[in-house]
Structures are given as structure tokens and as C-alpha cells.
């Protein structure tokens, strides 16, 4: 099992429950564990009945377990302020307004939210020396996939920018006549330095995701969820990120044999359909099914979470390969 474990899947399938349960399992196995929620609709706080924020905080009553909830809006705001501060230091007051507008605009584009989330992601991964295991409870499939595909996409883009900038600065250097100072110089060019730093960040992210991360997909036994999971597996493998296991959540419990009431008949029918779907999942996916969790009557918290954790057949040992 790798250090970074991601749980993804369609909205509302119980990713938070499963990832919290898994984090609990790791913590109980004496591993310093951090559970990170990246879903804008945070529910980690509900599962542990405790408020979390952007900084890791110990979970009450559980040793070795910390939790945090990433807030991209805060990150966007911070990035905006930082950029503006640099603007104030660099630019003559006459120009500030003009450029200010451009900066504000950039922070309102749809991509800003994702970029901020991605930055926080990478930050968390970089600052994770204190933990043996970091569990990410990610936002629904589409968003996560886009997020994970960012490094590759951005690397290509930044390479192009860097090349253009360098080419242009080199030409400026060459154009400087005699001893005249060139208009731009390669040494100490802040743009090149920035781009280089970004490039390193993306490279780090890509390498870490490829080499130190495991992905699990959570799904419910219904057709929609199965289809979406199929697409997610295909999407992830497109980025060379292998899904290590599937967790089926919300299975209907079977009634006792002697029960013949209407409720029992309904449940029996449902169980039969779901068993069919489970069989489909087993045969259609190459990815192993690591857990099948029955639906609970109450909200999954506290002791129930422990029960769910026990049902997860996912190894917690740091370097062993995933069990199936």
C-alpha cells in the first residue's frame, strides 16, 4: 500500500464514510494517519462529529488520526492577495489599476478553483512527513479526474511558455548593441524563475501520483454508479494511474428466511438484483473488489465506523502490495 490513498467515485456513494473508515483502520494499526477532505461539500466533520478546518487537527478519541478539510476559496483568496502584494512592490502606481483588473479576472475563472485545490493537494503531499498515511476523500469523479490530469496538461503548457520566454530573452540579449544593457536578461529573470518553480511543482505532483499513490473507487450496486465507475477506471488509466480496488457500498441486507411479509419480499428482491450487479462488477472489472459494505440504519459514525472499517479488506501496512 502506498503512502497516499485516494478514494473517489460518483457523488453520494459514501466516499467520506469509506475513506474515514479506512483512515480509522490505519490509525488503529498504529500508523500516523491524516484524512483530507477535498470535497467542497465537506462531511468529514459530520462523520467524526467534530469541526475541522484547513489545518490538520487531531480527531478526538482516536489516537494517531488527524483530519483536515481543504477550502479552495481560501486558497484562491490568499493567492490573489499575494499576487496583489507583489504587484504593489513591482509596478508603478499608474499601472496598478490596469493590471489589477486582469488579476482579479484571473481569479474568477472556473479554472481558478481547480488550480487552487490542486495547489493545496500538492502542499499537503509535500508537508506530509509527519504521517505514514494520507487518505484523500476526493470530490465526485469528474472533478477528481480533471484534478489528477492537471500535472501532465500543465507541464506541457509550462514547457512551451518557458521555451518562448527564454527564446525571446535570448533575442533581446543578442540585440543589445555593444556594451549597451539588454532590455531583458536570462539571469535573474523573475518570470523564468516563477515558471521554473511551477514546473518543478508539477513534476513533483506527477511523480508522486504515479509512484506513491493508490486509487480506490467507491460505488453503489446500481447501474448508474457502475457505468460511472467504468468511465473513471478508463479515465484514470489514460493518465497511467491504476485503480487498485473497488468498494461497493450500500448493499441491502437480506431478511431472515422465515420472514414472509411485504418488507421481507421487497428486501429479498432487492438483494437478488444487487447480487446480480455484484456479479456483473466482479466479471466486468479487472480491478478487484476489496469490500462490499451493507447499508446501515443509522448514520455511520463512532462504533459503526469501526464496524465498517473492519469490513474493508484493504491492507494498511505501508509497503506491502494491496490485498485483493
Amino acid at each position: 500500500m502506498e503512502k497516499f490513498v485516494f478514494f473517489g467515485g460518483k457523488g453520494g456513494v459514501g466516499k467520506t464514510t469509506v475513506s474515514s473508515a479506512y483512515a480509522l483502520k490505519c490509525a488503529n494499526a498504529d500508523q500516523q494517519t491524516l484524512v483530507v477532505s477535498t470535497d467542497p461539500a465537506h462531511s468529514t466533520s459530520d462523520v467524526f462529529d467534530q469541526q475541522f478546518d484547513d489545518d490538520p487537527r487531531p480527531v478526538d478519541g482516536v489516537d494517531n488520526l488527524h483530519a483536515m478539510e481543504i477550502d479552495p476559496d481560501e486558497e484562491v483568496e490568499e493567492h490573489l492577495m499575494e499576487t496583489k502584494r507583489a504587484l504593489g512592490d513591482q509596478v508603478s502606481p499608474a499601472l496598478v489599476n490596469e493590471i489589477d483588473r486582469q488579476i482579479e479576472m484571473a481569479h474568477q475563472t472556473p479554472g481558478a478553483y481547480e488550480s487552487a485545490l490542486f495547489d493545496r493537494f500538492v502542499d499537503v503531499m509535500r508537508d506530509s512527513d509527519d504521517y505514514d498515511r494520507v487518505v484523500f476523500d476526493t470530490s465526485p469523479t469528474g472533478g477528481t479526474l480533471r484534478l489528477l490530469s492537471l500535472p501532465e496538461f500543465l507541464q506541457g503548457w509550462i514547457d512551451r511558455l518557458l521555451a518562448k520566454r527564454q527564446q525571446s530573452v535570448k533575442l533581446f540579449e543578442r540585440a543589445a548593441i555593444g556594451n549597451q544593457e539588454p532590455r531583458r536578461m536570462l539571469d535573474g529573470d523573475p518570470i523564468i524563475a516563477r515558471l521554473q518553480a511551477r514546473k518543478e511543482l508539477f513534476e513533483y505532483a506527477e511523480e508522486t501520483l504515479r509512484e506513491q499513490a493508490s486509487f480506490f473507487l467507491v460505488l453503489n450496486p446500481d447501474t448508474l454508479s457502475i457505468r460511472e465507475t467504468e468511465r473513471a477506471v478508463a479515465g484514470l488509466s489514460e493518465y497511467d494511474l491504476a485503480v487498485e480496488g473497488l468498494v461497493v457500498n450500500r448493499l441491502t441486507p437480506a431478511p431472515d428466511d422465515d420472514e414472509q411479509g411485504r418488507g421481507a419480499r421487497y428486501l429479498r428482491d432487492r438483494v437478488a438484483t444487487e447480487q446480480d450487479r455484484l456479479a456483473t462488477i466482479r466479471s466486468r472489472f479487472e480491478v478487484p473488489l476489496v469490500a462490499a459494505i451493507e447499508t446501515r440504519v443509522a448514520e455511520v459514525r463512532g462504533d459503526l465506523l469501526r464496524e465498517v472499517a473492519a469490513e474493508l479488506d484493504v491492507s494498511v501496512a505501508p509497503d506491502a502490495t494491496a490485498s485483493d
Binding site: 493590471i99 488579476i103 479576472m105 475563472t109 479554472g111 511558455l161 520566454r165 525571446s168 543589445a176 516563477r194
Partner: protein, 98 residues
Amino acid sequence: MTLADRIDRFRAVLDEWLRGLYHGMISHPAYEKIEQEAEDVMDTFMLACFPDAFGIPSPVSYYTAELLPYLDDEFEAWERRMWDRGSVLERKGHQYHF
């Protein structure tokens, strides 16, 4: 003043004139061309960074915004150059001194 001194002085003046002539006729236009080429490449760079200045949405403007403080003079000059440019020929035409 000896003859040798006068020859030296004459050679110095000639040297300066020749260098000036060479600079004016050959090297200066060449430098100008290189500089314009540099500006053109910079324009492409800026367009890749801030397409939203022209109404083309950019998925990465969040990242490029942090470059803006260091691109102040370039940003304005670039915007002006982009709006003013009537055609490719117009700007390329500047490179030739007829």
C-alpha cells in the same frame, strides 16, 4: 607633430567613420530586426499567458496571473501592439529601411 602622429590620427578618424558607417548600414538594422523578432516571440508568450485579455478563456490564467506583477510594462505595450496590429505585413514592414 611628426608624420607618424598624423598618420595615427588619420587612421583613428577613419576607423571611427568606418565603424559608424558599418553600424548604420549593417549592424543597426540587423539589431533592430533581432529586437523586433524578440518582441514578436514575446507577443506569442504573452498571448499564451493571457488569452483572456482578448476574450479567449484560459484554463490556466490562475497561474499566469502571478506573473503579471513582473510583466507590467510588457503587458501594456503588448496589449497596445496587439490591438494596433492591422496585419502581419504592417509590423514586418517596419523592419525594412527603404
